[in-house]
């Protein structure tokens, strides 16, 4: 007697031998779990190799012995310091502007809110270089806002460290907005109602219920934004240029170094990789859970 074949498995062999004795059935079929289709296995492994392979190769190829010397070089130290303070400042901008924006998106019941939300999250999918061009167009010397800044205040933005901060904030802020908005939308109103019924005034509700509940999400969003800002290339190079010491952040240094000093490029790449891994590990659960940038479509 032959057991019927399940879809996706090879046809089952007869379970009874011609002489009536029972034959051993394939171990996979016996557990009852559907066997992985062999056809899907190959592309899946290929995909895994494609994503993980280059990173593993990078780490393997890194000049571990020379790492301290490379990182101590003046040019590298300059760009590292620049990267660190610009990303941090950009994150601060993202928090100061992004949390109220998230509040607005989560609470205001304006018509067209969906479109507004889509616009705010556009930088997540927009090619960063396009973002840079847009910033240049508006904030450049001939642009509507940039022109005003230049004529009235004598401020030039493009190709300055300030431009680096702006470019980074532009690409990083949506991460924070989306994370915080998700947190504000999910449970808040119910708890605020419960707090009000218990006699809490509006400020008490804000300080003792809403903010504590949303705090961890603001923290997670800020960390995500910081990591994104640190790694920003396209918008930075377009709007701020790549001047060593002034606007050449770490990713830009890596790019330059590829021609002249590949070892340095690899070393710095590994450093950036390590930062990203640390961020992901630290945020596991929040990054891929509800309310994360990967759950934007709602």
């Amino acid at each position: 007697m032959t057991a019927p074949a399940r879809p996706g498995t090879a046809p089952a062999r007869p379970t009874t031998a011609p002489d009536g004795a029972a034959r051993p059935v394939a171990a996979v079929a016996r557990t009852g779990r559907p066997a992985v289709s062999r056809a899907a296995l190959v592309p899946a492994l290929l995909g895994l190799a494609f994503l993980v392979g280059p990173l593993v190769g990078l780490v393997a190829r890194a000049p571990w012995a020379d790492l301290p010397a490379i990182l101590a070089a003046p040019a590298v130290r300059q760009s590292l310091v620049l990267s660190l303070w610009t990303s941090t400042l950009a994150t601060a901008v993202a928090v100061v502007l992004g949390v109220p924006l998230a509040w607005l998106l989560a609470r205001a019941a304006l018509p067209g809110m969906r479109w507004l939300r889509a616009l705010v999250t556009l930088p997540l999918v927009l090619p960063p270089v396009v973002g840079g061009v847009a910033l240049l167009t508006v904030l450049g010397r001939t642009g509507p806002v940039g022109g005003l800044l230049d004529r009235w205040l004598g401020i030039t933005l493009p190709f300055t460290p300030a431009a680096v901060v702006l470019a980074q904030a532009f690409v990083a802020m949506p991460f924070l907005v989306v994370t915080v908005e998700g947190a504000l939308r999910s449970a808040d109103r119910r708890f605020e109602e419960a707090a009000a019924c218990l006699g809490a005034s509006r400020s008490t509700v804000l300080l003792r219920v809403t903010l504590p509940l949303v705090g961890p999400s603001v923290g997670a969003g800020a960390v995500l934004a910081w990591a994104r800002a640190l790694g920003e290339f396209g918008a930075t190079v377009t709007f701020a240029g790549s001047f060593p010491g002034r606007t050449q952040t770490l990713p830009l240094t890596v790019y330059r170094a590829l021609e002249s000093d590949p070892d340095a490029a690899i070393a710095l790449s590994v450093v950036l990789l390590a930062v990203c891994v640390a961020v992901l590990v630290g945020l596991r659960g929040r990054w891929l859970g509800p309310g994360s940038p990967t759950a934007v479509a709602r």
Binding site: E193, A195, A196, L198
Partner: protein, 394 residues
């Protein structure tokens, strides 16, 4: 606390396209259950009492205080009403421990931390959850969480208590525990208490008075015994597991069921019954007749598959019981379910007293072989199986 006051809500609340229109009064110490199907407007009402919704018209008063007056544009916010609220989803603050949750109310009202903590401990004790004080709400079972929610609401010493389906989200065992806790504390509570539920058992166990709300209107209001004896709507009858028919009082206490009349008009007494009816109702008064499922007698119609000719003669006298002269009608069996020592048989009829009214009969298990879905049966009401009472005036 000053002497407890009563609550009065007379007005309307809008919820989307739907309007809830009631006049509800709850005395101090009284527990009123708002019973009704989903979407009837019960939650809207208690949220209005708590201050989370506003009246569109009318007034809401608590003793001498006006909490909501649509015409005078007065609306006291929830935080100043002192209404202890227990929600279906407990809503314990996840970032605080159980103890901090219960102490939240007193602290928000100005009690210093030490006093608030002591009050919280006392209430957790009284609800039997003192050992959970240091836990986070996410580590509590449903029943434990609801008891903590009750403690949190009571810890503020509220003047009014409102519970919105407090047992709906609990499993059977937790329900029993929490219901016991509720029964004890609601009885002790000195102010008015409004409890929303869609479960008749909860209403019967906890309430002094039951108010049935359907489609935003109060359709019946009274003591539990009253409800059990005289359901006034199909919904309540269904909750009680009783069949409800409409009829008219005839002469000398007889009742003529609607739809049982001959084409020429009702002949008084000819197709009526002698049903216990209170204090001689004037002939012509509309009545409701409550019929217990066990009082329906079914007789399979011989050769009965779908025979349209027979189904159109609801007053067929074939199979008269021994001289009872009661009207019967023909119906189709729509389902047969064994239920303990009986069979529950659902019936549908297109004409006669039970036209378009699904009825439930309870018959002996021995009928199992003789009744199949789709069969025609002759339905009769046994003597003493029904009682009539005045129908509500619309």
């Amino acid at each position: 606390m000053t002497a407890p006051s009563g609550l009065r809500l007379a007005g309307t609340v809008r919820r989307g396209a739907f309007t809830v229109d009631v006049d509800l009064a709850v005395g101090p110490g009284e527990v009123v259950a708002l019973l009704g199907p989903n979407g009837a407007g019960k939650s809207t009402l208690v949220r209005t009492v708590a201050g989370l919704e506003a009246l569109a018209t009318g007034r809401l008063t608590h003793g001498e205080e006006t909490w909501d007056d649509a015409a005078a544009q007065v609306h006291r916010p929830a935080s100043r009403r002192h209404v202890g609220t227990v929600f279906q989803d407990h809503r314990l603050f996840p970032h605080l421990t159980v103890l901090e949750n219960v102490a939240f109310g007193p602290r928000a009202l100005g009690t210093p931390r030490a006093g608030a903590t002591a009050t919280a401990h006392a209430w957790l004790d009284r609800l039997g959850v003192a050992d959970l004080a240091r836990r986070r709400p996410t580590h509590l079972s449903g029943g434990q969480a609801q008891r903590v929610a009750l403690a949190r609401a009571l810890a503020t010493d509220p003047g009014v208590l409102v519970l919105d389906e407090p047992l709906a989200a609990l499993d059977a065992e937790a329900r029993a525990h929490v219901r016991r806790a509720l029964a004890e504390h609601l009885r002790e509570f000195a102010g008015p208490c409004v409890l929303v539920t869609h479960d008749l058992g909860d209403a019967l166990a906890l309430a002094d008075r039951i108010v049935v709300v359907e489609d935003g209107r109060v359709v019946q209001s009274g003591e539990p015994a009253d409800l059990l004896d005289r359901p006034l709507t199909a919904y309540v009858a269904r909750l009680l597991g009783v069949n409800l028919l409409h009829g008219t009082a005839g002469a000398e206490g007889a009742v003529v069921l609607d739809g049982a009349a001959a084409p020429g008009g009702p002949a008084p007494g000819a197709r009526g019954w002698d049903l216990p009816t209170p204090e001689g109702l004037a002939p012509g008064t509309a009545v409701l007749v409550a019929v217990r499922p066990s009082a329906l007698r079914l007789a399979p119609v011989p050769g009965g598959d779908r025979d349209d000719a027979r189904a159109d003669r609801p007053d067929d006298r074939s199979g008269d019981g021994p001289g009872d002269g009661r009207a019967g009608w023909t119906a189709t069996v729509t389902s047969v379910t064994p239920w303990g020592e009986h069979l529950q048989v659902e019936l549908a009829a297109r004409t006669g007293p039970a036209a378009e009214v699904p009825m439930t009969a309870e018959v002996a298990v021995s009928m199992l072989g003789r009744l199949r879905v789709g069969d025609l049966v002759e339905v009769r009401i046994a003597p003493d199986g029904a009682h009539a009472y005045p129908a509500p005036r619309d």
